[in-house]
């Protein structure tokens, strides 16, 4: 009697278990393969950045040196965040100012004085830029003396957000564009010159304009230096705290040599380090 009773209960339990497992299995097989894993990933904080090959891009190994450096510093600072690259700067600014993202990465990012009060700028690299021009158009170069007056009457190709007030004051006409668009405009004669880091020019010309490799040349004297920042957002609940931790971690990487190691692995040693690391220690100390 007892055995029969157990058997009935057992059978009922088994039936329920089987039904439940079937329901789970059906649901899983119906939805599982139809969505990507990304939909189930726990939302991490995102650091939004403008695509900037070969320093920061999904197109290069490990996302490029700046991606690896920033990821390492974030990791050391205990900040669980991923870098997301965008093809346009407006998207980067949107996430920072409107979505109140934890941080963004970039250069040439113009903010109003009001917006700047809410932001914490931490330098990641000091990049030397060269003025590039098209040799067939200007066979004798552009006589860049180090003073912008020497380029009066010429047309400069600026990146969106770049401070061009000095160019305009010197009588240089300014047109805006993405880096690759600026290089194409140099070739087509729409602009005379643009300031771009040498490695970026090499990468873009090699990928998109290989036949013009010998015609797009740099002026001998550097154009100047530009700083790549990670910009933390005070309006994000963890923004201030994360910025302090990140600064400390990045300074630590500069001090213990791991910053240089990553740069060496991506871009080489010697002059390259001087060109793309600059006096980062000094900038971080400011």
């Amino acid at each position: 009697m007892m055995k029969q009773s157990i058997s009935k209960t057992g059978l009922l339990s088994l039936a329920l278990l089987l039904l439940a497992s079937l329901m789970v299995a059906t649901t899983a097989s119906a939805t599982g393969p139809r969505v990507t894993k990304a939909l189930f990933a726990i939302d991490k904080e995102q650091i939004h950045a403008l695509d900037f090959p070969p320093f920061l891009s999904t197109e290069v190994k490990a996302g490029g040196p700046f991606s690896e450096i920033v990821s390492t510093a974030l990791n050391r600072a205990g900040i669980d965040a991923v870098i997301t690259t965008h093809p346009v700067q407006r998207m980067v600014k949107y996430y920072l100012l409107q979505e109140k993202a934890l941080a963004v990465m970039g250069r040439h990012m113009a903010f109003s004085s009001e917006a700047r009060k809410e932001l914490i700028f931490i330098p990641v690299s000091v990049l030397v830029e060269q003025f590039y021009y098209y040799k067939p158009t200007h066979p004798n170069g552009l006589n860049w003396s180090g003073k912008l007056d020497s380029l009066k009457g010429k047309t400069y190709g600026a990146h969106k957000g770049e401070d061009v007030s000095a160019f305009k004051a010197a009588g240089v006409t300014v047109k805006e564009g993405r880096t690759i668009a600026l290089l194409k405009q140099i070739v087509s004669g729409q602009i005379d010159f643009a300031a771009i880091p040498g490695l970026t020019t090499d990468w873009l010309v090699g990928k998109f304009m290989a036949s013009e490799k010998d015609n797009i040349v740099a002026m001998e004297r550097p154009a100047g230096a530009d700083i790549m920042y990670v910009i933390f957002n005070r309006q994000h609940p963890q923004g201030v705290d994360a910025a302090a931790k990140f600064r400390k971690a990045l300074s630590g990487m500069v001090d213990d040599g791991s910053y240089v190691e990553i740069m060496k692995r991506h871009i080489g040693n010697g002059d390259m380090l001087k060109l793309y690391m600059g006096d980062l220690k000094g900038e971080l100390a400011k």
Binding site: V35, T85, P87, V88, Q98, R178
Partner: protein, 442 residues
């Protein structure tokens, strides 16, 4: 033995009766239930447009029951060069059904499902956002919303992805649309009609990271979808898109004059593009791009012998006869001359099903037209654009080319010209299809 002999005779006969590139194997219209007398209206129609200098020339074909009953060239292909039956045309958006065919072949091979998220193959499509206008008075004019569901392969085939074309800004002025396409421009995305010097994959990866105009599945908006499909073919098949199409579609269908980049020896057969004001001013376009608002067309792209950009929405050059072979393959349920590219069931899925819900595919047509997986499909006969039958499927190209397949009447109509701007041509295309339908005489 008898069976083998019968098979041999059958093969021989099928070879004799099939259409060959050499002589086109035309038949008298009456043999396939068309009226020769009524088809003269087509002569008169095209002749009048050429005479009035609205177009320089055209090639028109009407085929029925697998046979070419009408195939006529009129006017000029270029200055001092008469139009020929084998003149090569920029078919631009008539590339799209070819690209859809490539995708559906991979679908039949089990390489992908139409319900697959595109992100499964192109990771840049993950976590896409939609640009949504904020209410008036908000701090910011727009916000980004995560997609309710990811863009699927079927969205690209049916143009329900929320991905746009820039040139349609002028056709559908709308601030949100303009904002999306401004981001396209900033990211260097073009419609591909002025070919950029990059690979299609480079373009697609950037495009995928930009906001959508609408949630996938909630809109019908003609856009860069076929270009993404072309890159998807590369990712899924492991072949360059042009090689896949040439080896798997053009070669089996004997489309000998269809190319992504024209072979040098065929350059003399390429038609010129003509600018027409539709009032009698007709000028051959020069080598400069034609720019009108957000539309950029570069006729001289077609003269390039090679290039990196392989646009699934725009790249192909072809002839009327080659496109007839492609269309006949569809009309036959996926097979031509013993070569099967698609199953009958897949062709049914692509051509006889509405994939856009309540929306109408009005861009080239009118209300009463729906969209399948690569073609517009006539859904009723109650609206202005009538191609002769419910179930007729067709598409067109921006330099003025159009094809139409009427499965019920087993009839194919193809018109090819090379005239800009294309807006005027809706009238002419519609009239061509009226002439074709009204020639049915059985």
């Amino acid at each position: 033995m008898i069976k083998i002999v019968s098979l041999f005779i059958a093969l021989l006969l099928s070879g004799v009766t099939s259409v060959s590139a050499a002589d086109y194997k035309m038949v008298k219209p009456e043999k396939v239930g068309l009226s020769s007398e009524r088809l003269k209206n087509m002569d008169r129609l095209i002749g009048r447009y050429v005479e009035e200098k609205k177009i320089a020339g055209a090639v028109v074909m009407v085929a029925r029951k697998g046979k070419i009953a009408y195939f006529k060239e009129t006017g000029l292909a270029d200055v001092g060069k008469p139009m020929q039956k084998d003149t090569i045309f920029r078919i631009v958006s008539m590339t799209k059904p070819i690209t859809s065919t490539a995708i559906m072949m991979l679908y039949e091979e089990g390489k992908l499902l139409l319900s697959d998220p595109v992100a499964k193959y192109i990771p840049e499509f993950r976590n896409q956002k939609v640009l949504i206008p904020n209410p008036k008075g908000a701090d910011f004019p727009y916000r980004l919303e995560p997609v309710k569901r990811e863009v699927q392969v079927r969205d690209l085939l049916a143009h329900t992805s929320g991905i746009l074309y820039l040139f349609l800004n002028d056709v559908y002025p709308n601030p949100t649309r303009t904002m999306v396409t401004d981001l396209y421009k900033e990211a260097g995305i073009t419609d591909g009609f002025c070919r950029p010097d990059e690979t299609i994959g480079d373009m697609v990866k950037r495009l995928a990271k930009l906001p959508l105009y609408a949630h996938p599945g909630e809109v019908w908006d003609y856009g860069l979808n076929s270009d993404i499909l072309g890159y998807l073919v590369e990712v899924v098949s492991g072949m360059k898109f042009d090689q896949f199409v040439e080896q798997r579609i053009f070669k089996p269908l004997k489309m000998k004059d269809s190319h992504f980049y024209i072979p040098k020896e065929k350059l003399p057969r390429l038609a010129a593009v003509w600018k027409s004001d539709w009032k009698g001013s007709l000028v051959r376009a020069d080598d400069k791009p034609i720019i009108a608002g957000d539309l950029c067309l570069n006729p001289s792209d077609a003269e390039a012998l090679s290039g990196k950009y392989l646009a699934g929405g725009a790249n192909v050059l072809s002839t009327v006869y080659d496109y007839f072979r492609f269309a006949q393959m569809y009309l036959n349920g996926g097979e031509l001359d013993g070569v099967r590219l698609l199953s009958r069931k897949t062709v049914e899925l692509m051509t006889a099903t509405n994939h856009i819900g309540k929306h109408d595919a009005e861009f080239l047509h009118s209300k009463g037209w729906k969209f399948g997986l690569g073609f517009a499909i006539q859904a009723d006969r109650e609206h202005p654009v009538d191609s002769g039958d419910v179930g007729t499927y067709e598409w067109a190209g921006i330099y003025s080319t159009r094809f139409s397949v009427d499965p019920k009447e087993q009839k194919i109509t193809i018109f090819m010209s090379q005239t800009n701007p294309f807006g005027h041509h809706f009238e002419l295309w519609d009239k061509v299809l009226v002439q074709s339908a009204s020639a049915v005489a059985d």
